[in-house]
Amino acid sequence: MIWKKEWFTLKKQWWRLTPKTWQWYAYLIIVISIIFLSANVIQNNLIKITKILNSCWNNSCDLIIQSNIVKITIFGVILSVLIIDIISIWENIKKDEREYKIDAISERNASWFMSFMLFLALFFNIFTPYFNYEKSINFFIIFLLLWWAFVKYISFYILERKWE
């Protein structure tokens, strides 16, 4: 990883990092610049490839396309590495235990509310067709509810095994 733990102080809430040193600001400026540059290069090369594909059919065009693909790949790798690096900051910087609890309870409440709303949506989805004389069940809601249950029980299973 590019970043160093010493650059930061404790994580307050999951999105907030308190920079402690100038290195963090330098890192932020450099990384964001590279991300924008990479995204721009990838986008421009994709546009070039599309234009070439629509207007040119000889061997020299293939070479140009190949060089564009190489550029996209290189900048794609750089972009991925930087994004992973940024995500790793969020993962590795510790959180205050009180705020961790608060955050966990808030997430739980949001999850309960979300699942309640999904059940409510499913309930309306099942019963309103009787008034409209239409019969259709939104399977997307059922799919979301199944995923919600799946993620919950997978998390439960992993934590149960981890802390047994």
Partner: protein, 67 residues
């Protein structure tokens, strides 16, 4: 905890940084509004060079309430 902190001349901010929590958490601990984890309690007791039992008082009611 406040007295111990004063004895060793440590500010809330300094103690918070040493035990890797926020200053707000130290404030809540001193006001008896937050029960620390065993890990945090140990860290604080080491910094303040005092036994855990002398800094924190275990109350059965709090344990029942939390669970």
């Amino acid at each position: 905890m406040k007295e111990l902190r004063a004895r060793y001349d440590i500010t809330q901010e300094e103690l918070a940084e040493k035990v890797w929590v926020t200053r707000t958490t130290i404030w809540f601990l001193e006001k008896w509004k937050y029960n620390p984890s065993l890990k945090l309690a140990y860290r604080i007791s080491r910094i303040l060079k005092t036994e855990i039992e002398e800094i924190f008082i275990f109350e059965e009611e709090d344990f029942i309430e939390e669970n």
